[in-house]
């Protein structure tokens, strides 16, 4: 399957703190790929690098088989560290404003994306009145403007209630079915297990596993396999 995203030997330091020490990932086109890891593992740093929000110290990024440049961002929709909304503006105004900035027809963007994320009935309500789940869905709709081939979503189920999580999982699957590649990070194993085709696990800024979710399980127990991997890595045992 063609590659949507290829990450090789990515490193990033913040002063004396090594956030990434060599991350390798391969995300295939059209899949939902989950990036797993404990808090502080470096998931958001990887996501930010792919979204153009920070410059890695070394390593390479390829998007759709081409070296990453600022132009690569035209094919990427990203949502990092929350939905990033303007509190006084409603969903329709958000979509129209972002669509204008991205050079996409504002009316069509609003008409297409509001139903997609289930906000068409509340499109004229201020975003400050939305629940967290609705805000995330609006954020994803904004990231979807212009039909990007690669969606980068950092912890989109954080803070959601069970209903919100279920809606989010369904939305991610629908996005993948529509042809997008979804690259999603989470530290919630069960959410990833229910949504993703393949996963990568990073611990202490290094890739420790990449492949099918079933390969991570230990004696059929996914959680046990994940914890075992994290503990082995943390204690220095490879």
């Amino acid at each position: 399957m063609p590659s949507a995203l290829r990450v090789r030997a990515l490193t990033k330091n913040y002063g004396s703190t090594a956030a990434l020490q060599g991350v390798d990932l391969d995300v295939a086109e059209g899949e939902v790929y989950g990036l797993l890891g404990p808090n502080g593992a470096g998931k958001t740093t990887v996501m930010k690098a792919v979204a153009g929000l920070l410059r890695p110290d070394s390593g390479t990024l390829e998007v759709a088989g081409r070296p990453f440049t600022r132009d690569s961002l035209r094919g990427i929709g990203a949502l990092i560290d929350g939905p990033g909304l303007w509190p006084r503006m409603d969903a329709r105004q958000h979509l129209r404003a972002h669509a204008r900035l991205r050079g996409v027809d504002p009316d069509r963007a609003a008409a297409d994306l509001l139903p997609l994320v289930g906000l068409d009935q509340v499109a004229d309500r201020r975003s400050s009145a939305y629940s967290l789940g609705m805000r995330w869905r609006l954020g994803i709709a904004i990231a979807m403007i212009g039909s990007p081939r690669l969606l980068v979503l950092d912890e989109p189920t954080n803070g959601l209630d069970p209903i919100g999580m279920r809606e989010m999982r369904a939305l991610l699957r629908r996005l993948a079915e529509s042809g997008a590649t979804v690259f999603v990070s989470s530290h919630q194993l069960d959410q990833i297990a229910r949504t993703c085709d393949r996963v990568g696990v990073i611990v202490h800024g290094r890739t420790r596993y990449e492949g099918a979710l079933s390969g991570l399980a230990r004696d059929g127990d996914l959680e046990a396999g994940f914890f075992s991997l994290v503990e082995r890595t943390s204690s220095g045992v490879r």
Partner: protein
């Protein structure tokens, strides 16, 4: 929710190359719903109406020169408050975007376009405020002293606004680089300096004092509000074009520094 069939029918539809006009239009849509618009519309009547009452009961006002006092003190506050207004504009607009820049900074176009667009949008908002103040002052001048007095208002309001453009750019750059606290500090310091040194040689070295420096010959008053003596060299209008040019040069320099920062900033 509905399905997403065909949503990826047009890959690469994103151009990510908005014109400056588009960025300004988007900024104005955002500003329509926040403190900057409120400040722009409330400030002119808040300046004009109470100062009119004060002018009417002042000794000069009771002596028959209500318009002269009213015009002078209104322009004085317009000039002195300008740095604080610029700081509030900049701080509030940057603060509103703290969360959303995680989205817009992932777009392919250069980030400095957003900064320049925001500056121009805030400048337009300030111009709107200046226009409102002009209308109020011109109406008062027409009623109290005739058409010639009303004709003084547009220049008296617009030139300080133009002389304050550099301060606005400076405040925006400060808000982006050091945060809204630093920006507010520039505004407060600017207001105090405008009231104390605008009519001295030192005022030329302090951009925040330039709007008040423009007011001095136009209103015929010192920075502290005391009327100029007849024949005072501060009556000369020669500094006005210099202030306008200096303001535009400072705007360009501050925006260039701000652009360098936002283009390199990591979130």
């Amino acid at each position: 929710m509905t399905t997403a069939e065909s949503h990826h029918a047009a890959p690469g539809a994103v151009r990510d190359a908005p014109s400056l006009r588009t960025v300004v239009a988007v900024e104005l849509v955002k500003l329509r719903r926040g403190f900057p618009l409120w400040l722009s519309t409330v400030l002119p009547p808040v300046l004009v109406l109470p100062l009119g009452l004060i002018a009417a009961v002042s000794p000069e006002g009771r002596g028959g020169d209500v318009w002269g006092v009213w015009f002078g003190v209104t322009l004085m506050f317009w000039g002195i408050f300008h740095p604080m207004g610029a700081a509030l504009y900049a701080a509030m607009s940057v603060r509103t975007d703290l969360a959303s820049r995680r989205l817009v900074y992932t777009y392919a176009f250069p980030r400095h376009r957003l900064l320049v667009g925001r500056f121009l949008a805030l400048l337009v908002l300030g111009l709107g405020s200046a226009a409102l103040l002009t209308v109020l002052l011109a109406a008062a001048g027409l009623l109290l002293a005739g058409p010639a007095a009303a004709a003084e208002a547009p220049v008296g309001v617009a030139v300080p606004w133009l002389a304050g453009a550099g301060t606005l750019a400076l405040c925006l750059a400060a808000a982006e680089r050091w945060g809204t606290g630093a920006c507010a500090a520039v505004g407060v310091a600017g207001m105090m300096l405008a009231a104390t040194v605008a009519d001295t040689a030192a005022g030329w070295f302090i951009p925040m004092a330039w709007p008040m420096r423009a007011v001095v010959p136009l209103a015929g008053i010192h920075a502290n509000g005391v009327p100029l003596e007849p024949g005072d060299p501060l009556f000369t209008l020669a500094p006005l074009p210099v202030l306008a040019v200096l303001s535009l040069v400072l705007s360009a320099a501050a925006l260039a520094a701000g652009a360098r920062h936002v283009n390199r900033k990591e979130l």
